[in-house]
């Protein structure tokens, strides 16, 4: 039994050192803050910004990963960084997470092809424009809308645009067009267009230029000049987002932008369009088209491996830490009612708190919890926690809520006779729990714990909302850059399947081992009895 306690304390020590380690990281990051310019972008919106695996063409590192970002936005960011004598680091964030990242102080600037709409200006400040663009409807060559000359020609067309952008509002001006649900990113819209689920989508001219590089079969119809089309000035320009209190930085950025001429801007954009990743025509040196999986593995293998590592780390730490949280909660919730009144109320209160915890974390999606905790802590306490640490904490407490009920059920369903036999020997409640009930309860819960582990491997994919680069996040990045949606997600799903299958097997073996054989082989065990009482006994 002692050995179990040792194991427990070792685990707690590891957990503590991890936490301390993370908080150290945070402090170090804070100390370096002044020399670093943290720029938030999707790194998924070519040619403004994209992710690549090396630092070619002057790409800058993406915070918290081994990948790099490049694009028009990055080039602008580097000019600003240079003038401010600060090193540019990209904070890769999903589109909907950009504003929270800025207001919570996780980024200094948003340079993400974002337009300064009035709505956004309520939350943050915008610099002078760093690019002007025109609007197009992107459709397929040969589509009946490819020849549209006026706004009403789009009558009946199924159109969409990116979620959270004003592009989506512009569709209303195309009289008679059927507005489809907004989509997450350009990658998804391109795929939908190719597969025919939509007839087109509204975007800027640059998107058309870069899309054409990988797929010549698309056509961009400029709508900006069509009679009746109206886009405000704020809507047709892109600006740099800066947190409201940061007036000084806003002034500096505007001064720097003024020094970048229009000609230079066009040149930068053209360079970006040329540099953006194109994997479609990848051919080996012999000129033969290379196997797609081989080329993808060559280019993104490292990313995939680290994604697998991150997924496994999140799932295993989450399940183990969640198990201990669940164990403690389960134990507390099965304490028998104390005799003294004060203790009884105290326990009732703690019990109530714990059931609130369980209800909240079982009753809300983990994705929402992640967003609330990660951005909330930063916004209200100005604590900049490491995103991996945040993800680990979120998975752990989420799993804890589920396992608490599973373990409580395991404790309750242990046969009454086991409690009574232990009581009859004079054991205290704690002794009964630790030595008799919990070992049995945990063993009976093992299938459910395995299940929770499997769920965690899959469900940690929702943590992409706080840009933790786990397997699914990596998959999305690869898919949006290669436009090979089906093979990429197929590969990712096979990897998930291998992971979950392996873990199921391992746990099945453990269960089998704990179960032991049905019959006791007297002959095989006889050696251990007799006069030599020193022989060690298996426990």
């Amino acid at each position: 039994m002692k050995s179990k306690n040792k194991w427990l304390s070792a685990f707690i020590a590891i957990l503590l050192s991890l936490t301390i380690g993370f908080s150290f990281n945070t402090r170090q990051a804070a100390a370096k803050d002044n020399n670093v310019l943290k720029v938030a972008m999707e790194a998924n919106y070519q040619p403004y910004n994209w992710t690549q695996t090396n630092n070619a063409n002057g790409a800058v590192p993406i915070d918290g990963s081994h990948t790099f970002a490049n694009g028009y936005d990055v080039k602008i960011a580097k000019i600003i960084g240079q003038k401010l004598h600060r090193k540019v680091v990209v904070v890769k964030t999903e589109w909907d997470g950009l504003l929270p990242a800025l207001t919570s102080g996780k980024a200094d600037l948003i340079i993400a092809g974002m337009s300064p709409t009035a709505e956004r200006e309520k939350a943050i400040n915008f610099s002078n424009p760093y690019r002007r663009s025109t609007f197009v409807v992107i459709t397929k060559v040969g589509s009946k809308y490819a020849t549209a000359k006026k706004l009403s020609d789009f009558k009946g067309a199924k159109l969409t645009a990116q979620q959270g952008t004003f592009h989506y509002q512009l569709i209303k001006q195309l009289t008679g067009a059927k507005r489809q649900p907004a989509m997450r990113d350009f990658a998804a819209m391109r795929q939908s267009l190719i597969s025919g689920t939509i007839d087109g989508y509204v975007a800027e001219d640059t998107e058309a230029t870069s899309f054409k590089l990988v797929d010549p079969d698309i056509k961009a119809i400029p709508v900006s000049k069509m009679p009746g089309f109206h886009a405000t000035k704020e809507e047709s320009v892109t600006s740099i987002g800066i947190a409201k209190p940061n007036k000084q930085l806003l002034k500096q950025v505007n001064q720097i932008l003024a020094t970048i001429s229009n000609a230079q801007r066009v040149k930068l954009m053209n360079t970006a369009v040329k540099q953006q990743p194109k994997t479609d025509n990848s051919k080996s040196k012999t000129g033969k088209p290379e196997n797609w999986f081989v080329s993808m593995w060559k280019q993104y293998g490292g990313m995939i491996i680290s994604g697998i590592g991150m997924t496994l780390l999140l799932a295993s730490v989450g399940t183990i830490a969640g198990f201990f949280i669940g164990l403690i909660v389960g134990i507390i919730r099965t304490i028998p009612t104390p005799t003294t009144r004060g203790k009884r109320w105290g326990l009732k209160f703690i019990d109530w708190l714990l059931s609130v915890y369980i209800e909240i974390f079982r009753g809300t999606p983990m994705m929402v919890q992640a967003a609330v905790i990660y951005y909330g802590i930063a916004q209200f306490w100005h604590l900049n926690i490491d995103r991996t640490a945040a993800a680990l904490v979120i998975v752990s407490i989420n799993t804890g809520a589920y396992l608490a009920e599973i373990i409580r059920g395991g404790i309750i369903s242990t046969p009454e006779g086991q409690f009574e036999a232990a009581s009859a020997l004079g054991m205290t409640h704690n002794q009964r729990m630790w030595h008799i009930i919990l070992p049995q309860a945990i063993r009976n819960c093992l299938p459910s714990i395995t299940n929770e582990f499997i769920v965690n491997i899959k469900d940690t994919s929702v943590l992409s909302i706080i840009s933790v680069s786990e397997l699914f996040f990596v998959g999305t990045t690869i898919a949006s850059q290669t436009f090979k949606f089906f093979p990429t997600y197929l590969t990712i799903s096979v990897i998930y399947l291998i992971l979950t299958f392996t873990i199921t097997r391992i746990f099945n073996l453990i269960e089998k081992h704990l179960e032991g054989s049905k019959n006791y082989n007297l002959m095989a065990n006889q050696v251990q009895v007799g006069p030599t009482e020193k022989t060690e006994v298996n426990k």
Partner: protein, 249 residues
């Protein structure tokens, strides 16, 4: 009866209700040190509840239980120490499923009596030898037959060196061919001077080993006396009626 006739345990007007149902109405008796007492009676009459009240697996609703003259129901009395001194053998054996035979017999000694591992092991093995289960020290409860499990349960109980040992229908859950092995272990124990209170339906066994027999029905002790008085010459009508079922014994 080897020891002086000092009373070790006495129940005074014990009552026990489950909700509105009063199972024990008024149970009082004295047990002397070294005495073997048997409780017989119809099902649902309160035999097992009486035994469970002695061990405080059930809290009596009213009354007093004196152990060496001290009321164990009084607040502040250390019940765990008392329970360690009053062992119990259950109908369903209730061996700890997560432990092997040896560990079942050691865990109470180590945790409650604070004996060293070595000492606990020695005591456990010598008691397992007494019940003929020493060969099975590494077996898991599930791997054993009912009779074997019950013998281990007896070894577990006596490893605590109890002053009183309670048996709650120890052979009722056993297949007939296994009853004998358990009863013979109990008979051996009865000769060691250990105080025992046994709830049983084995009338022949009760006649052989008991010093005192209680007949409990409807929550009261209907009749009590020596085995000869009660089993061969019952006075109360209920006792007569009940014993008629066991004429073959």
């Amino acid at each position: 009866m080897t020891q002086a006739n000092s009373t070790i345990l006495s129940l005074k007007h014990i009552q026990k209700s489950f909700g509105n149902h009063q199972v024990l109405k008024d149970i009082s008796f004295n047990i002397k040190k070294g005495e073997i007492a048997t409780i017989i009676g119809p099902s649902g009459g309160g035999k097992s509840t009486t035994l469970r009240c002695i061990n405080m697996l059930e809290e009596p609703s009213a009354g007093e239980i004196d152990f060496h003259g001290e009321n164990v129901l009084a607040p502040g009395y250390n019940r765990n120490i008392y329970r360690a001194k009053v062992g119990m053998v259950f109908q369903q054996f209730d061996l700890f499923e997560n432990k092997d035979v040896l560990a079942n017999c050691m865990v109470g000694q180590e945790l409650v009596l604070k004996r060293s591992k070595e000492e606990a092991r020695k005591v456990a093995i010598s008691n397992l030898k007494k019940v003929g289960m020493a060969e099975y020290i590494n077996a898991r409860p599930k791997q054993l037959s009912g009779g074997q499990q019950q013998r281990v349960a007896i070894a577990r109980a006596i490893s605590m060196d109890p002053e009183i040992l309670l048996f709650d229908e120890p052979t009722s859950a056993l297949d007939p061919e296994m009853v004998g092995e358990v009863l013979s272990v109990m008979k051996d124990l009865a000769t060691t001077g250990l105080t025992m209170i046994i709830v049983t339906h084995e009338m022949a066994f009760a006649r052989d080993v008991s010093d005192q027999v209680f007949f409990i029905s409807d929550g009261v002790i209907t009749e009590q006396g020596s085995p000869d008085q009660l089993l061969n010459h019952p006075q109360n009508e209920k006792t007569v009626k009940f014993l008629r079922n066991f004429q073959n014994n």
